[in-house]
Subunit: 223 residues, 2 copies
């Protein structure tokens, strides 16, 4: 039943996209509920009173919050179709480790390049961000996706890199990513964005550029 | 075989204690390897090159890092004995959500009370910390432990509260926790610390007070 699964998200957030990507990979029907984050709905606040954030997955009326927690829930609830996480406990632990690394280390380090004020500060912030990308590049050795032959949990966690890095480059007018230095990640980005379940949900690039230009102006002029 | 499982930790870190508690609850033999964090061993740096941190669990020569990832690994590898996480996918998602909340929100909010300079700043930092504790109190309604009748994943994640809050109170000379306001959490603390698998690993209180007094002086005098 289509009305069994609802996903509260907005059009651009990579955390929300992780969930729709996963649902589409697994062929699960769902309803999109788009939130205006400047005026959150009473439903969203009721479903996620702790963080008051998207995404929230509502399954048979029960809410689940936090995108990585939702991905595991989806994988465990609809386990007959395309697995997202490996079965082996050690491989599973490695997937969890790298997804956590993406959220706790990689994403904040790239975001700080975006938010730092001025060229010099941004160049400095690039150093740890690139070191973090090197760890990720290393993980792709001998594999098409982090999940092996198919898109899995770590791929979905890292999905934002594939469609946002080059938007950031345009907005910042700064080279963030050198495909020659990261050949595996560069190939992964193409494969990831070309996959039908991913491609159909990628936000329009021009809208992203406009959104992040406004964001960037705000950060550059803030005290 | 005892030499199959090694845990790299130090004597006081709650992240390391989560692991030895879990191993003892499950009756798994292991070897403790105590690290001097001011001079980390080459083994630790080799096993955790990304974060260079304890705890690391080494099982049959393979390292696993990040305490919550390790707990899930332990539960999935030794699944015959005392489960740490619920079987039901929704209940499991709730346990993951609250453990993540403990690490991402509760712990940093309590820690900021510790690190803020001066009485007024500390009192202000107490407000979000207490709000976070209220969320946790709510979760204990009708339950002895977060895991139900037995200690589980969320209990282990929250374990630091049970033995550190009153050490912080002594060091800061500030009331952090009012048992009348948090009757369920207060009862939980007692039950948790009384459990044999937990009690035998609790660090000596006087050593903790000395350690955190030194820490606190450092924070209060830092620029």
């Amino acid at each position: 039943m289509a009305d069994e699964v609802k996903i509260y998200r907005n059009w651009s957030s990579p955390y929300g996209l992780r969930i729709v990507w996963a649902l589409d990979i697994k062929g699960i029907e769902y309803e999109n509920i788009f939130e205006d984050l400047s005026q959150k709905s009473p439903q969203l606040l009721q479903y996620n009173p702790v963080h008051k954030k998207i995404p929230v997955l509502v399954h048979k009326g029960k809410p689940i919050c936090e995108s990585l927690v939702i991905l595991e829930y989806i994988d465990e609830t609809w386990k007959e179709t395309t697995p997202l996480l490996p079965k082996d406990p050690y491989e599973k632990a490695m997937a969890r480790f790298w997804a956590k690394f993406v959220d706790d280390k990689l994403l904040p380090s790239v975001w700080s390049v975006f938010t730092e004020k001025g060229y010099e500060a941004k160049k400095e912030a690039l150093v740890p961000a690139m070191q973090n990308l090197e760890f990720i590049e290393e993980q792709l050795k001998g594999k098409k996706f982090f999940g092996g032959e198919n898109i899995g949990y770590v791929d979905l966690a890292l999905g934002w890199i594939a469609y946002l890095l080059d938007v950031f480059e345009e907005v910042l007018n700064l080279k963030l990513f050198d495909a020659d230095k990261f050949p595996l990640l560069s190939g992964w980005m193409k494969n990831f964005c070309d996959a039908p379940a991913i491609k159909q949900h990628l936000p329009p690039r021009d809208k992203l550029v406009t959104k992040f230009q406004l964001f960037h102006e705000k950060f550059q002029t803030a005290n």
